[in-house]
Symmetry: none
Subunit: 228 residues, 2 copies
DNA sequence: GTATCTATATATAATAT
DNA sequence: TATATTATATATAGATA
């Protein structure tokens, strides 16, 4: 990327190392900003020179917010691997730092709850919305999963019951058995626990998706299903 | 740096935004590594995609170390500004209690991001979903508000321009004035910054809402609007 | 340390697979 | 989506001020 090719190893000449650092640093910051703007990404970049001088870039000037988000992510991943000693390392975070972190978290949390939105820029609102959209998607997926599991269990129970009755009473009219087919709507998530046609609410947020009445009262989820 | 030049603004096309993100992300990570090796610098790079996926690079795989160093630096700077009363109100929450609160908050936050949902019951999922739905609603409302404000400002500017032109040139054909009526779609929130017909995405989470092209290129939000 | 000037090396946009 | 191709746009090494 210049007159000569450079090996990927520490530049020995002190001068040219410094010069290269200066040039590449600004290039890196520029590219960090570009990907952030072009692709709607959140970027945090921290660079310490060999002598310890700090340079940084962060989307929307919210370095703390991004770092906090990062820590939550990596924290969760680590917990997957080793949840034996959940204290130890963070035990000794100094009190003021802890407080600061807590405050950032609380502020974020408020935003996730749709509160205190006034100081946010359009960009930040946009990002927040996308996050919530994808979170909601995952939540609906998980809900479906749980419901399907419950349904399977119930189906089994019904079949057992059926068998018992077949054995106790004399077999009669097997066609009118208790077996029931699940309506396909039951297998799709809805914005509310009331199943109403298997469609997500058109607007996703305008209201609750309850506007359309259930097509068939029999497709309501029975109360015992709600207890998980 | 490719077949065409690109403006430094959000790429509206969803596909090419994703592709560009993927390419530039790897480019950025590569360069972060290069400056780190060539110039003996410590680098920490955190990138969250628009959908919240995490990518990271850090010198010597010690992200935490670098972040800590960063916090010490910026902390020192902050102390310069206001070192008068760094305690006062919550001085006396005991450390362990603070930690506990932090952990609870973090766990909640994860749920709000659609992660770690497995231990939640159907009821809890339902509640979570309702919370997010209403948060999203408020976020969209706030976004609309911001956009409308910007639009008002713009309308004013256009009118002023118009007046100036009327004064400078002789009045001619007032019917073809620059006044424009805002399409009703502009007044509803969309899932993306591109205004595209005023419809929320059908599922509220599937993707970006960019699938439908803008009905009229003139309804695109101008770049200066994005800067808030 | 910074800034400017090339010649090259790289990155990547547009495109197709 | 992931990768491959290719024409261009950028970044930057090396030199100099």
């Amino acid at each position: 990327m210049g007159r000569g090719k450079v090996e990927l190893k520490r530049i020995e000449n002190k001068i040219s190392r410094q010069v290269t650092f200066s040039k590449r640093r600004s290039g890196l910051l520029k590219k960090a900003n570009e990907i952030s703007v072009l692709c709607d990404a959140e970027v945090a970049l921290i660079v310490f020179s060999a002598k310890g001088k700090l340079f940084e870039y962060s989307t929307d000037t919210s370095m703390e917010r991004i770092i906090e988000k990062y820590e939550r992510h990596s924290y969760a991943e680590k917990n997957h691997t080793m949840n034996s000693k959940p204290k130890e390392n963070n035990l000794c975070i100094e009190h003021p730092k802890l407080m600061a972190r807590l405050e950032v978290l609380q502020r974020n949390m408020r935003n996730y709850e749709g509160e205190d939105l006034d100081p946010l820029s359009l960009r930040e609102l946009q990002s927040l919305q996308q996050q919530l959209d994808s979170a909601l998607k995952r939540i609906r997926t998980r809900k479906n999963q749980l419901m399907q599991e419950s349904i399977s269990v119930l189906q089994k129970k019904v079949k057992e019951k059926e068998k018992q009755e077949e054995q106790q009473q004399e077999p009669l009219l097997p066609q009118t058995s208790l077996t029931f087919t699940l309506p396909p709507q039951l297998l799709h998530g809805t914005s509310s626990l009331t199943i109403c046609g298997g469609q997500e609410p058109t607007t996703g947020a305008e209201e609750d998706g309850n506007r359309a009445p259930p097509r068939d009262p029999n497709t309501r989820i029975p109360p015992w299903l709600l207890r998980h």
